[in-house]
Subunit: 329 residues, 4 copies
């Protein structure tokens, strides 16, 4: 996305295992288009070369790198989970130990532009949310904010393509075993994103939100679909009221599409794009409603969101470099 | 499955569009193994040739055929939806018109052996449930039966391979558009299986069960995974109590595996087999629990279930011809 | 691609079956980005609205539309097969009847910029080749042009994603049956692209080229890989000589990457991009060499190639709007 | 396959890394059906427990284990590549060092029942061929045996599902990168199966066969399709003559289907079965013909073939336990 961005200049690309190799050997899609060598990370070298730095390290490993760059006065857009939780105790209870740099937690701004556009624009450290929280939060936040649904016992049933698991080969993403199958993992409060989603939605709702989160691995590369089930507060409200809440909340959003009645989100329709598709439905037989969202976990759920934050930070139009039409079929 | 069944003899195979053609031109997997010609359906010819008849027609079209065969004294195992609802009013409200043969509804036995084994054995007409009801019911029935979860506002979030949509090509199963994508359809009470699942679970629970049902289409051929979310009655009960309920309920079941703690169902592990995998989990952060089930929609969710009923009807051991190990990977 | 093209303005989009509907109902990837209504085709209306017209109709149906637009003085970029064969007799023998507008065949320029850049720039009618000919021709043309391989009895074994079959649902692209399988079709001289590839390669070689062409359908949406096997003329020439021929031929090509020794093409690495990857190998055990190419059948094998021709026609830099990095993974 | 085999009794299952674990933790498809613990391999223990032993170790590692079992008088069916090449010099040149147990090479019988049924029945060591050689050899052997095609410069273009790469996760089978893509590997004489195919086909032809072999990795789990291109000896012979040669050669074969004119092999139609589909075509435009074969690389290309040999060794009907219909769709 940065290669195709009209105003960004990529000063250097660092890597751990592959440092010293040509980028195109690791990411062959850049052949003929962008062919630097991967460099060893050095905070001094990086901080002196670039004004804004994207970090995308595993949680735990990211914090020290981010801290080193912040100390050197650089703006950091961090794609790890290290600065997304505000409360260091919550962090400790989910990540099995104290936060490595708790002082930075206060400075970090949660990088979801649809909720925190203004704060992102003036941040020094942006903690970009990943695919599950982005999809879950956008699907239900306006309903919670307006008090249309109850904040307790939300059910989030989310389905992700295998690229969400990262690039390290493992048994769970071994094509012969992962193709032609679907399975849940880390259900019933085991997945760490539970805390992050609860934190953000609680702020939105102005009340403690509790939820059960069930992620699934699907036999496809990209794409994430989330269904968020909630109990309605007023059983007499028609479906239109819920849709109107979403449409109103996202009326000015450049990347959020609230689908017309009758249409439902499909991850294939946002593949490779920074767009989110949303629907909301009300089940007449129960007191339940559900918000549904589809996005590309590697774009709006990761790198695209980071570029969106980058644009805000730099004062560029927010959509710069992000308007590419989805690759469908 | 019948071809490989040791005691069944297939007298004839009928078809509509393809009548007159060799079976292997329509279903090439039978080449070299079973090569009859497809015949035009005639109730007299069929009733005089076979003792037990499997019907697998679209809903609406099935009822008259089944009635003609029942009139001629044959035992019918019907894979359509025509005889699964007991109440002809419920049928009329979901299927847009009166039931074609309401008198037969009383005779029909719901063909889920795990719930109605004895009645199936002496039935003249078995209405075999399909993939969604089978997966949803088996995942939660024991918890409802024992009063461990509340019967209202269940959430059933189910994910199906594309073979569940049948063999007629359509835009929604066109590989270029269906591959690499996931999407829900007929959500929030639109899907007709909602009524069927509610009917069966209400009987099991001894109370009116209401639920919201969200089916999804996945980019794979076979396999169905269902998550059934319910509110627990006693928040102090540990997860073990729920698992124990499942284990007890299915202790003697030849095709149901309740997974050990830590394991979760995967449709790839039951592909091509008649087995169901189940897990149950309790979310400590909410008052929610969930049952999870995986099965092959074309075996335990369709043809395998029908053979299981056939074995019961004929007095064969229930597992005859159904013990084949799943095709994995 | 046109939506994202900086200097193109889309005046209108026509359709047959879907005329009158919003584009986004037919191609949902445009939601939020480009939302015109589809219009009925009228040659007068189209010719008076646009300077350059892209036609993408089935072969046979395209010729009359193209003729009507050419008559009205418009430049046409045709993606059908109707104007790719120069010889109307050859057309007649492969397409089962006389060419509808033989007079236009002379005017048509074969739209493969790597072979006919100059002629495309001044054309009034460009007949854009599709995925199979583009992949096959680019993989072997430089070796034939330089007399390094023999022109008789080439073997072209090509593998295509299912989007190559178009958007009409059919049994052969029905996901449950097309997933998890591979099959050849129209082999041994049955496929019409055989004639087109022979025509172009014969011109390149300055000798009659004959070949056998085997297309395959793969269980994926996009991507085309072709292996072209040929007998070498001089068995003593090392592999380097063949690679040098390719590198020399494509040294200035903006969209062709000749891979380094040891690397081999992968369609995943060009998905969504207009790039072609090429390798050439020499088998020491036989007198055979092979050229291998990978491209995205919907970009370099279709729409991207058309935009490349459009840029040449309009005098824009050839790469305008086509430099997007491949969507990988 | 052994679990479902009516006359085999599995005495023990050994493993390296997973020794001590329950089989079902490693191969979850056996849950509820076959649940032994995996044992450490000991030649004495194994030789004293079982009459026939299946070995499936990586090449190089297999030889010593096989030798230890043969020494103890056991019959071994080896699925590795260690005993497939007859000539220890050829082995050394392809496998980078001397054969570990050259004395056993003479005893080993190549386990392709269609070519060596009688010898397999009386063997003490069967070297079972894998998917590529089985598919390639069966597609062309009868034409070579009858002198209908020339033995030099065959082209074998083969396409395999990812399970052919084994169970060890790697970048090349990482679903996010392997899905939606196709790529060749080890082309132009680099793949070791080249030597094995040449050896067997040379014996069949009674002349030195040379070939170029191009394996491809496809985005699917199971299935292998091979196209074998050869020059015809007599250009006047009609296609029927080639088909007749195949039909005659395989008339009595229980697992080989020569498809009728107009039909072409599809791996989806043999998934999970031990069957091979074959077609042969003659290209009128060139002097080329091609044989095409489809099989399941894990059944006829591996375990099914081994059971077929096991049946021959034990004097059981050759099809025992192998007649299961393909799992399609």
């Amino acid at each position: 996305l940065l290669v195709d961005h009209p105003w960004a200049r990529i000063e250097l690309v660092c890597a751990e295992r592959h440092a010293g190799q040509p980028l195109v050997r690791v990411f062959p899609q850049f052949r003929g288009r962008f062919e630097p060598n991967l460099e060893v990370f050095s905070p001094d070298r990086v901080a002196s070369s670039a004004e804004v730095i994207f970090t995308a390290l595993p949680h735990g490993a990211s914090a020290a790198v981010v801290a080193a760059l912040c100390q050197r006065g650089r703006v950091v857009i961090d794609l790890s989970a290290d600065f997304r939780l505000r409360d260091s105790d919550v962090y400790a209870s989910w990540y099995g130990g104290p936060h490595p740099v708790p002082a930075l937690l206060e400075q970090a701004v949660y990088g979801l532009p649809e909720l925190a556009r203004d704060r992102i624009g003036s941040a020094r450290l942006v903690a970009c949310p990943g695919c599950y929280p982005t999809a879950a939060i956008l699907a239900i936040a306006p309903l919670l904010a307006r008090g249309l649904v109850r904040p307790d016992a939300l059910v989030i049933d989310a389905k992700s393509g295998a690229s969400g698991a990262g690039r390290e080969p493992s048994a769970s993403t071994h094509l012969p075993e992962a193709a032609e199958g679907v399975r849940p993992y880390q259900v019933a409060g085991e997945h760490r994103h539970t805390a992050e989603i609860e934190q953000v939605l609680s702020e939105v709702a102005g009340a403690r939100v509790s939820l059960t989160f069930t992620p699934h691995l699907l036999p496809m590369s990209r794409g994430l679909l989330a269904c968020v089930y909630a109990r309605t507060v007023d059983p007499r409200l028609p479906e239109e009221a819920y849709r109107a809440a979403l449409e109103e909340a996202y009326a000015e959003e450049p990347f959020v599409t609230v689908l017309e009645p009758g249409a439902l989100p499909d991850t294939a329709h946002v593949r490779g794009s920074n767009r989110v598709q949303l629907s909301v439905r009300r089940d007449q037989r129960t007191d339940l409603g559900l918000g549904i969202s589809a996005l590309d976990n590697l774009v709006k759920g990761a790198a695209g969101q980071a570029i969106q934050c980058f644009n805000l930070l730099c004062g560029y139009p927010e959509t710069t470099g992000l308007l590419g039409v989805a690759v469908f079929p």
